[in-house]
């Protein structure tokens, strides 16, 4: 069974940005995409949309580089910033292979998807995306079925780079 994971299927995203609004509404009480932990990036090269959100890497580089030990893994698997420790240096953002860490414009501190904490309804962005289904909140076994081993390997490569192997 294992933990549930938030996965993204960019090709299904139509750029409606409801997820951004729901995210900021849940976390900050206002529908302001600029506060959201999930961001829809418009791919200028292809004209498509890419939801960018923390995927809570197994060996998360943001945890390793944080000088203040502010990046913490929660019990639900999410990797979040402890706001009491964060000094706003952005090391987590610079180390993230997805650029998925957000900097709060008021506090200057970092933040990322907390999977809507332990909320019974699950992540709000997934609810907001019920029609397009570009965002899914599923157990890790389901991920394998959806993505196929090939893509899982691709993701693993990004997250746990083994440059020596690829050279040989």
């Amino acid at each position: 069974m294992g933990l549930k994971i938030l996965i993204v299927e960019p090709e299904k995203c139509d750029g409606c940005r409801d997820c951004e609004k729901e995210c900021s509404l849940f976390h900050f009480g206002v529908a302001d995409p600029d506060l959201s932990f999930i961001r829809i990036k418009e791919d200028g090269h292809f004209g498509s949309f890419i939801p960018v959100v923390c995927v809570a890497c197994e060996e998360a580089p943001c945890i390793d580089v944080c000088p203040m030990n502010a990046r913490e893994r929660r019990e639900n698997g999410a990797v979040v910033t402890n706001q009491d420790r964060c000094i706003g240096c952005r090391a987590c953002l610079y180390a993230c292979p997805f650029g998925a860490v957000q900097i709060n414009r008021e506090t200057g501190k970092s933040g990322s998807c907390d999977l809507c904490r332990e909320d019974r309804e699950g992540p709000r962005c997934v609810k907001a995306c019920a029609k397009q289904k570009a965002l899914l909140y599923v157990s890790s076994t389901v991920v394998r079925r959806i993505r196929g081993e090939g893509s899982v390997e691709t993701i693993k490569q990004v997250l746990r780079p083994q440059v020596k192997e690829s050279l040989s």
Partner: protein, 424 residues
């Protein structure tokens, strides 16, 4: 199996606790020269500057060691290793037995051989006790000797506390191991904007004053001050290993499994010398937190008979002061000097700056200031995957003129690189 760990820094602490989480039955002992639980040296300047409380610097509580059945021996400085009898002897003459020994005692501050270096009012920011002394000190004018990450961070910390601060750097630009001159000069300008003058290519000749610091004398001038901070870099601690007959270079030599020349003795953290993750070059020292953590993970794997191999050390660091944000990863131009096929790509926008270093189409390093730094992780992911940027460079040229939404997305970069867009 009895595992003895020398050192309670990031590397030692990571070995102890991850080993414990993976194997409840292994006997783990740890010697520490200090008396406090593990703390994060990177966080010390922010404690000195008052950004965070002292308790924030700690990674563990003393209680955690007992709770996880790790025998913690504070104030035990290891001075020798008996490799025949498998014993580590401390300064106080105690002997600690081991089956496997992990050397993670780090390095020590390089104290430049200049006159007057033992006067009162001279501080550093390497250990927690150094930081305690600096935080308690009440001065008004400080000279920081050395402009590495710690030097710049301490300069910011003291400036915030109301000091007048000047940085003196021997080399022609600041943060010389992280940045090339064009990037560093922009950061120097930013520092000056915050009221911190930087004096580069200037050699400190001595520190004047009766018994207290009165002035720092350089080859160009005398800088009156009541506080001096040494930020002159960290020398790997190799004496302990060297006297035991273990092979050392600039640091303790280790293989891909983090074993020293004696297989029952492993080493990780600031005391080791490894190889570069991207170029494979030996004699590589990047004394950075993520390298210590990665090395510690390999040590644990090796101790448990796993197949983990170290991928190599790499530079990745941010430079952050006041509202200036910059980052660097991989090689600087200086670091690849003399090799063929090196090319530089630069971008500038609204005062932000990006500098990419390629060799034969492959990205070897990147330096960025401002919003360009936000894409550092994406660039690093591509460096790991060894994308050939040769083809992509033309596209990068086009990007500027097309004025794409900014910052770039992963999809954009990956898409540009290989024409695919399905990658998350």
């Amino acid at each position: 199996m009895r595992v003895l760990i020398v050192g309670n820094g990031i590397a030692g602490e990571t070995v102890a606790f991850s080993l414990r989480f993976r194997r409840p039955e292994v006997e783990i002992s740890m010697l520490s020269a200090e008396e406090v639980p593990a703390y994060d040296p990177c966080s010390l300047p922010y404690y000195v500057g008052g950004d965070v409380a002292r308790e924030i610097v700690f990674r563990r509580e003393l209680n955690d060691y007992k709770k996880h059945n790790i025998a913690f021996f504070p104030k035990r400085r290891a001075v020798s290793i008996d490799t025949e009898e498998h014993l580590v002897v401390t300064e106080g003459g105690e002997a600690f037995p081991y089956d496997k020994l992990v050397l993670a005692h780090g390095g020590s501050l390089f104290r430049p051989p200049i006159e007057g270096i033992d006067k009162k009012g001279i501080f550093s920011c390497k250990t927690l006790s150094d930081a305690d002394a600096l935080a308690a000190h009440q001065g008004t004018r400080a000279v920081i000797i050395g402009s590495g990450a710690i030097g710049v961070e301490v300069a910011e910390a003291l400036k915030k506390k109301g000091y007048e601060v000047t940085i003196v750097e021997l080399l022609p630009w600041i943060l010389p191991t992280l940045f090339d001159e064009p990037t560093a000069k922009r950061l120097e300008k930013a520092l000056l904007g915050y009221g911190i003058p930087v004096r580069t290519a200037e050699k400190v000749l001595g520190i004047e004053g009766k018994d207290r610091v009165g002035a720092v004398v350089t080859d160009k001038t005398a800088l009156p001050c009541d506080t001096v901070v040494l930020a002159t870099g960290v020398v790997p601690g190799r004496a302990l290993a060297e006297t035991a007959g273990i092979k050392v270079g600039r640091g303790i030599k280790v293989n891909e499994r983090m074993e020293t020349s004696l297989p029952e003795i492993l080493a990780c953290g600031d005391c080791v010398e490894t190889f570069d993750a991207f170029t494979g070059e030996e004699c590589c020292l990047y004394q950075l937190k993520h390298n210590a953590v990665n090395q510690a993970r390999v040590v644990v794997g090796t101790l448990l008979g796993g197949k983990e191999r170290y991928i190599g050390a790499y530079a990745f660091a941010r430079a952050h002061f006041f509202s200036t944000h910059a980052a660097s990863m991989g090689k600087t131009l200086k670091g690849v000097e003399g090799s063929l096929g090196v090319e530089i790509l630069e971008r500038e926008r609204d005062g932000d700056y990006l500098r990419l270093i390629f060799r034969e189409g492959f990205l070897l390093g990147a330096q960025a200031i401002g919003s360009f730094a936000d894409m550092m992780g994406l660039l690093m992911a591509m460096m790991w995957r060894r994308y050939n940027f040769g083809r992509v460079r033309e596209d990068l040229e086009n990007l500027r003129s097309r004025d794409l939404p900014y910052p770039w997305t992963y999809g954009q970069l990956v898409g540009i690189l290989d024409g695919r867009k399905e990658l998350l």
